[in-house]
Symmetry: C3
Subunit: 211 residues, 3 copies
């Protein structure tokens, strides 16, 4: 029932997990947690989004619990960050581009997996979004702060949702899986990268004396 994964997909998947895990581990280092706290944040950030999606669509156990590489990558990312965090912290711009790639990949792959499990296109878009941003939200809940993705700042979730929507609604409109994956993923990646570069923001509520 689970979708077939080509080697390319697995490699990109693992790269996405690695980058997300590094962002989690860096938060742990900055919060001055011990090595275990850093590893928990690496695992939760790298795998959290996929775990939430798989539990909600009924794909249990999640893929990451059936293939040891999916556990070793975030553990490795966490240990590397623990030891070499000054270097990794300096690579923030590079990391952000990889993060955008992870977002594009996770959003599209999450939406396609939800379709595979029989969900309609709108719920599948939501599942793609959850796959992309869920790990970061778990990371922020574990470190007791409002998820950065929900706060005012650069566009992050909306490009992910847009990419996931392309992947989720495309097949119904007659486009092939590869096409919607490339178009959806590309849309998310380009939009997210431009948003970083040009500092685009999402709309905020109007001020009001009564609130």
């Amino acid at each position: 029932m689970a979708p077939e994964h080509s080697t390319t997909l697995i490699v990109t998947d693992l790269v996405g997990i690695f980058v997300f895990a590094v962002t989690g581990a860096l938060v742990g280092v900055r919060k001055e947690l011990d090595v275990f706290g850093v590893l928990v944040l690496a695992l939760a950030t790298g795998l959290g989004g996929g775990f939430i999606r798989d539990v909600l669509i009924g794909a249990s156990p999640p893929a990451a619990l059936q293939d040891w590489r999916y556990l070793l990558v975030p553990v490795g990312a966490g240990l590397l960050t623990f030891w070499f965090h000054p270097t990794l912290g300096r690579l923030e711009k590079t990391m952000n581009v990889f993060d955008a790639a992870g977002l594009a990949l996770f959003g599209v792959a999450g939406a396609l997996k939800a379709l595979d499990y029989g969900l309609g296109p709108l719920p599948s878009t939501l599942m793609g979004l959850v796959t992309g941003i869920g790990g970061g939200m778990v990371r922020d809940m574990l470190t007791s702060r409002v998820p950065v993705v929900m706060q005012r700042g650069e566009l992050y979730a909306i490009p992910t949702a847009a990419g996931a929507a392309v992947a989720a609604f495309g097949p119904e409109a007659g486009f092939g899986t590869t096409t919607v994956a490339i178009v959806g993923g590309g849309l998310c990646f380009v939009w997210r990268t431009l948003a970083m570069w040009r500092h685009w923001h999402a709309p905020v509520p109007q001020r009001s004396a009564s609130v």
Copy 2:
């Protein structure tokens, strides 16, 4: 295996989701999140309780992922709150009555669904409670505060648990589903409304020098 839903039930369900979603979105507006943060809080508050229940009783994917209306209602509630929050904020008393109705409905419906999935009456009571208050707890965890339902204040959870218990234990005592739903839901709604009106509180721990 899932219970049949009559039109009345679906409409009341959607009203409950709408009101819960508005309470979530209002927290987002007050926390000065952007439009996406407001929508996440609307979705999480409106659907969170049912999601947790469905994942725990093994009813995956949750109903809200199988019917697009269950996604559109909280998204609509979130956008309305985003645009019209000064008006909605002023309707707080009216909202609280609808919230009590949502609580009554979710508590009873959650307990009955758990019974349907083969759980005993005590676990089903817990599942009804989780359905009623889970969304608000997720909302509060996402905004980094101790869930208001756990803090000292007006009775909120105990009427929900009582209503859910009536629905969960009633059928075993020979009462029909409609009867226990009306009695349980009515008990929760009346108790909760009276608690708001008369400012009833739950017991608090005795003070002690050693703690």
Copy 3:
């Protein structure tokens, strides 16, 4: 498919849940929550780790929702703490030893259950760890603090992971379930107790001006 439980195992399991629930309820008393908040923390701390494990390995509904004793024990622990917290607070050292026993038991039992559900030894180790420390992490997220297990302090998670690893990798190496349970649980208990006594810590990241 679920593993058979002997009477000894059930009794130890319930003792572990009881002690974890008391630690959760004590946090609620200290945070000055009302009786319901205290009960939520007792339930979440006593049962949270097992719930997360069961949802992830696809064992739903979780065992604790199929046997009313698993609900009554944390509720009882919560009410006892609510009424007698000055006494229980004074027994902290005794409680810590029971906590170490609960950790040993949950870590080993969680790993063995994951093996039973077809997971490999590495994911099963993770599931054992989640069973042991997950309840406490949920408790801390509900009270809006970074989970203590992730903060700098005494060794807590690493002995649990070690015990779970013995239980998860032992059977593949030809050892019987009873043997790996005793060796793994003993390793965790002794290591954790020694860590409390000698104040052993986990490694922390090196300081760096760039972070």
